[in-house]
């Protein structure tokens, strides 16, 4: 038995979707292959948006993902600037546009619509930014050009921390606010989180922890983000200050809201797919027959970590999972069995001159085995309940981070890891 696979539609033309499409082509799929992207741009790389692009050292041409440098290379049908608004699993059709007039038929579907930034009241004010897309980055970059501004970053997650670092390096006055007791509290233990706070403080950022935002205040909402205001934003009806939950206020010219993302699944609301903080898939990233999901939008049970349902918002996962689901569709068409998708998550973050990498997951059982936290060059291991290595964080120790990733993947115990990584 086999399933027909003469056309594939990929919804989401960013890292995961492009990788899925490239993998299909490289594996010999020569049918119709359409990439639908809601943004008008060819696929580009997002990590530099908070770093080199924002700093002005990279231009847009450098951002283009390699698989899209020559848009004709893989014979994709590009549907850029088109938003998917619905999915009909019965008819195997993706619905495009708000009027729903245009449809795309598929035999195989890749869902890779990613995520969008969370917003709060006040985000509509001129000078208030989120950062996810190239258009967001253009707007923020233009507000950070020229004279020194008072920049307030809400949220000390990776986006917030990287934007704070870049803005500081551009010479702006930066305040970073975090509701939790330490930065990156969702992914880091308290001590390494505080090391991030100290890193920023040493570079002159005013880091406020354990305090929430009551509201963002400003004048009359101005034009679109990205407009050249030609002067002080505060005088042009933009943002004026961020009021904190303790009653204090931070006068601000530019505000960046980095408080996480929400998976982009609205278009699937009536599709019948299981949606719960993402598109819920089986352990091979399949959400329905011939329908797979990858990247920030996908949630699947990772058998490497006891089948825990995961949704991973990381660059490396988008590449790996995108490639995996491309192969998954081909296997489905041939009715072949496949190994489950069971990666060891890994990511990096560059802040100032530090490269921070985390493989696997942190736990309370943390142990520095190389270097030290005060010198900001260290390897910290995290043990699971049975003494196995489940995570490792490395600061300016990339070789160790990758070795740790491999040790986690093969189920090494702590004593083995200590020996290899000290």
């Amino acid at each position: 038995m086999s399933n027909r696979l003469s056309s594939v539609v990929v919804v989401g033309a960013s890292l995961a979707g492009l990788q899925a499409a490239q993998t299909l082509r490289r594996s010999g799929f020569d049918g119709d292959l359409t990439l639908v992207g809601s943004e008008p741009h060819y696929p580009y790389d997002r990590p530099p948006l908070s770093k080199r692009f924002l700093a002005g050292t990279w231009d847009e041409a450098k951002l283009r993902l390699r698989g899209a440098v020559d848009p004709d290379e893989f014979q994709f049908n590009w549907k850029l600037g088109h938003k998917a608004t619905g999915l009909d699993l019965e008819q195997r059709q993706v619905i495009l546009g708000d009027d729903g007039q245009e449809t795309l038929s598929y035999d195989g579907l890749v869902i890779a619509t990613g995520a969008r930034p969370r917003t709060i009241d006040g985000c509509e004010l001129t000078g208030v930014h989120v950062l996810r897309t190239l258009d967001h980055a253009r707007a923020l970059r233009s507000d950070l050009e020229g004279q020194s501004r008072r920049v307030c970053v809400i949220g000390a997650g990776f986006i917030g921390a990287e934007v704070a670092a870049t803005a500081r390096e551009l010479g702006h006055e930066v305040t970073m606010i975090e509701a939790a007791q330490s930065p990156l509290a969702r992914v880091l233990d308290h001590e390494t989180g505080m090391a991030i706070a100290d890193l920023h403080r040493d570079h002159g950022v005013d880091v406020r922890l354990g305090v929430g935002v009551a509201k963002i205040e400003g004048g009359v909402a101005g034009g679109q983000d990205g407009d050249d205001n030609g002067g002080d934003t505060a005088q042009s009806g933009g943002v004026e200050r961020v009021v904190l939950s303790d009653g204090s206020a931070i006068e601000s010219d530019v505000v960046v809201v980095g408080i996480g993302v929400v998976p982009s699944t609205e278009w699937l609301a009536r599709s019948g797919l299981t949606l719960d903080n993402g598109v819920v898939c089986d352990d091979t990233c399949m959400a329905a027959p011939g329908v797979v999901a990858a990247g920030d939008v996908a949630r699947w049970p990772n058998s490497r970590f006891e089948g825990k349902l995961m949704r991973v918002e990381q660059w490396d996962n988008a590449v790996e999972q995108g490639g995996y689901v491309g192969g998954r569709l081909l296997a489905w068409s041939r009715d072949d069995a496949v190994e489950p998708y069971a990666p060891t998550p890994w990511f990096w973050s560059d802040q100032y001159d530090r490269k921070i990498q985390l493989a696997g997951f942190p736990s309370a059982r943390a142990e520095v085995v190389h270097g030290s936290i005060p010198e900001r060059r260290f390897v910290q291991l995290y043990a699971g309940e049975r003494g196995e290595l489940i995570g490792a964080m490395a600061w300016n120790r990339p070789r160790h981070a990758i070795k740790a990733k491999q040790l986690i993947a093969r189920g090494a115990n702590m004593s083995e890891a200590r020996e290899e990584l000290s």
């Binding site: 990788q19 490239q22 490396d316 990096w348 490269k355 300016n396 120790r397 990339p398 070789r399 990733k405």
Partner: protein, 64 residues
């Protein structure tokens, strides 16, 4: 097949070393070293994956 690494882009994330350890090596000095510029047929698949997985897209693979 020939490998060219753009060392201005490379930040030694070492993902390439994970994927193709017989071709890429990040050493104790935290720099990337190419163990060969002309990988064999057997190595070519992993080299292509390494190039794709590089977070800085610093690895270029030239095929004739």
């Amino acid at each position: 097949m020939k490998i060219v690494v753009d060392y201005d882009l490379c930040e030694s994330n070492a993902i390439c070393m994970e994927v193709a350890p017989d071709v890429f090596e990040v050493r104790d000095d935290d720099f990337l070293y190419l163990l060969t510029e002309n990988p064999s047929e057997d190595q070519s698949e992993s080299v292509l994956i390494a190039a794709e997985r590089c977070p800085k897209q610093a690895i270029q693979v030239i095929t004739e």
